[in-house]
Assembly symmetry: D2
Homo-oligomer: 327 residues x 4
């Protein structure tokens, strides 16, 4: 299986970034084509997730297609930018119905790009949907609007899959789709087959979940449509290189995927603010291959037997033995 | 409304405690009857939640009844102790089926005590059900066992209500019923009408939820069967005096209850390790009465109008004005 | 005392912001003069802290002076921008000695602006000095460079005060000046009289400190040169409106200042991403005045007596009585 | 070096525990001699740290000595139990001077046991010294009492070393010796040579420190007198098996020790509530030996070169290569 595992990345992995302090950016800004060409330099990358609308208005779909082709990349998903200035107070939950309409239109446009590229899904990351202060919102209305916005899109595009990438917070102090359980609760209430979850390992980790448990739960509801990895220090979405802080839990996460025969792409969602993005992508994939080899080596039956007894020490020793001999 | 609000407390509020360091306890141990007599000294307490089996085996139901009567207290719920030594590796999720059987039996016994006292519910707090380490458990099986255990009890006792008190962690490093959304997901899957949530304000707070949002969600599923309050520093279940750290969010929590016409008992779940328990209960209730007066004063229509616009500053100023003038 | 309390704000309170998602900003960008004019609209603002170099290169010191004058504002401090693109890998701790030199020069320039405006201090906020990953830096060298950079500046400008605003993290995953104790340790090692601390209430809170304890410690070392307030949810520097989440600890913080006869300006360091900045500043100051009135009302001797016994419940009841009757 | 590395453990590693829920304990209680015999079963344990007074009053120093001898164990430190019922409101900072006296006497008794066993230090872990609530204590007086208590002991016993094991919290909501920097600040103020730090990896981790940075700082002040390891999920002192969650940072911690030629015992401070203590100790030491082999393999010069450039990715790749090939 090792050889055939596909790797992917959000194209923003190859952007430069701004934040509220370095308002002039962590480097000269890069265009989409330049980012694709950088993605092409990563050793084992097959697919990318692309933001829409494109950062450069001058870039056409054809330009993008050509750039992808010369870098042997295909598109797994399109991420509409429903979290920029006009959506600062929310996309699906914006108090202004006109802005909610704009969000719907932008995502529908993104759906067309998904069709154009034969991608797997439209990715919804409603980062501005939520609240900042106590007393700010009516939680009943906010949550209903969160579900309505997603439900409407899925109804309008029954031929496509939509994935929700939940996250506890940032940029909102609290996001409405904040956890795997809340997101599944919403998806079940909406009741449509073409809405799933894109599970970000780091979001799960810093939300206090066990990413392995979150993956299992999403799988049990047949809603794990995608995933990506990175790392952090459990209190913020640091988007560091995968494996740099929590290799054991990352290993358990992939163990859970394989045990369930979940066979999607292993994607990266990293933000190398101060590092060379190609080096960080290669570094992460190198570690993911260590994990793959460790999985090939692991005795799944023995692991199941230990887990049946909740025997943590035996289970961990098997995991450590596999991991620490797989470079 | 102010005058008629009922207050309650877990009877353990009046116990003394041990922990892993002060193994000789934070004071001489107290019997159940003594605790009830202390509860009777609190100015405005009407109901208590009692652990079962009773700490003192020599105490009979009649003894308890008499003690309650002389202190003008009634019983709102019974909490079976499914988290002591024999359940150290779980009650509903214990790897040993014999222990799972014991848990079922103990809760069924507690159900009889609920009937005897005419209480409102059996409270389930499965604090040992969960995991400590990565790789320790099969998350699919653990979660199924969590649901099966509760579902079996609710089926066996269709005349009674069961409430689940979720909590992120402690004593397990991760509890299986860890959040409002996860618990609702489980309850919906079980699909029985007599299972609800007892929402502990502090558990919600330190789990990264907005307690007001959690209450609204449980209400929207018709599953908010009870609640209790306390306070903490957002990283652990400190069970401090209600209002001592987060008065604004406590106020928003009660605002949400009143807005939804939720009219249950306002209970205390505090652990005064080093303080006089009667003083801590009185101190908390004094603050809850400040909140009540502030609610009476608050212009609910104006609050709704501000929230409709997500206007945090206007909403907060109304809340502050009401609160800071209600001593 | 109430009437004479001076209030201040960082001028960035009146800016618009970008972050890594809303790269087009949370509103149209504002020039420095425009920000000063907004600051002038706040009801009780006397002083501002200004970033240097000015955002608009075309703005002269005279322009700024005029704008301040017409808004009846004076300058309390100058904050050199040692955290923009060129300092992405650190100012004082940058691996490149040339960049360290640039940082020194920029702060020296800022020192001249302090002199020009008769301000109280140069504020150092070395937000990019620290690390992101395990194994990234030699901690001995990094910390020495942190101290050397500040010490050199204080030696070069013995006529001026320098204040260090510590913070646990952001934008670096870990900042070298991360806490009150670490910063005092560094200041004592440097051994110069003109280096102190600017204590940000929110940084202290989310770093796990008690802000009151942090203030007391800095005062005990004669190093509390300034302070500012805001609020957050204890896991990130949310820079919300002061008092909106943690009014009790804010009250204790100001109680500690008054008890020690600390008589500086009460400053705001808030980032109203999605709100009207004038409304947020007024809202915060309204609450600070509630605190002032509550302090006037509080029986300091009785509080001392309760604290002498570590009697939390009595102490809190006095605090609550004063606060909840001071709107 | 690998062969000669000494391993140790707190003798409480082999106890059974109680907490506020499992008040009947996580197993039948064990006597000190029984614990020592269990410690003797661990494959590579040379030294233990023993609590004083002994849990069983009937056990004599001779009994302990004999048990140690037959298990080939020696004593590295004695930990006086200044955190039981009588010290519930503090040992050094207790509001009652009589209790402070008792604490002083108990530690002086423990000092005699240190002499008797030829141990390296008296370990001070003032877990009840601190506060729970806002407004509870006068922080100036509390901190002074914290320093006075330790200083008096060090003055009374100039022939012995005292180590302070700092910790952010538990059982107090906030401990006065809460971090490496605060503890060093206190030690420097006391100004005696025979007071140092015992750095607990897990305390450092969940206090938001980088344990490697904390170790370096203590070393730079010549105050790193001891250390122990375990693991947790960064929000509580879980005292899990070392390496089970954060192997990378544990590796960096030991890298820092070796780089500084720090050559003390590698101790375990784990609380196996639900696991076999011998298995958990062996599991931890197995991982520590992986770390040792990885250190032997690591190119320290190349690591220094990468760190000089703050080149996280190169540094991490070297660390990963060493670690993942060292089982």
């Amino acid at each position: 299986m090792g050889d055939k595992q596909k790797f992917g990345a959000g194209i923003w992995h190859f952007a430069t970034y701004v934040d509220r302090y370095a308002t002039d950016g962590y480097g000269p800004s890069r265009g989409l084509i330049e980012m694709i060409d950088l993605a092409g330099q990563v050793n084992d990358l097959s697919v990318v997730d692309i933001n829409y609308p494109f950062a450069d208005k001058s870039v056409s779909l054809e330009d993008v297609e050509k750039a992808l082709e010369r870098n042997k990349l295909s598109v797994i998903g399109i991420t509409p930018e429903i979290y920029t200035q006009q959506f600062a107070k929310g996309a699906f939950t914006n108090p202004d119905p006109g802005v909610r309409r704009l969000a719907n239109e932008m995502v529908n446009d993104a759906a067309d790009v998904v069709r154009r590229f034969g991608a797997s899904y439209v990715k919804l990351w409603p980062g501005q949907d939520g609240w900042d202060y106590p007393f700010q919102v009516d939680h009943h209305e906010l949550w209903n609007a969160s579900m309505d916005g997603v439900g409407e899109l899925a109804s309008q595009n029954p031929d496509l899959n939509f994935v929700i990438e939940y996250k506890p917070r940032e940029p909102r102090v609290h996001m409405s789709y904040d956890s795997v359980a809340r997101t599944l609760l919403g998806i079940e209430k909406i009741g449509l087959p073409n809405i799933g979850i894109l599970l970000d390992f780091g979001h799960s980790l810093y939300g206090g979940e066990s990413p392995a448990d979150a993956a299992q739960l999403a799988i049990d509801y047949n809603r794990l449509f995608g995933m990506d990895v990175n790392d952090n220090f459990r209190s913020w979405d640091d988007d560091l290189m995968a494996g740099s802080v929590h290799p054991i839990e990352l290993f358990e996460f992939f163990y859970t995927l394989r045990k369930n025969n979940w066979e999607g792409v292993w994607q990266l969602d990293q933000f190398p603010f101060r590092e060379d993005p190609v080096a960080v992508a290669n570094g992460a994939i190198d570690f993911l291959k260590v994990v793959e080899r460790a999985l090939d080596k692991l005795d799944f039956d023995a692991m199941r037997a230990a887990q049946k007894k909740h025997d943590a020490i035996t289970a961990l020793k098997m995991a450590e033995k596999a991991l620490y001999s797989s470079y």
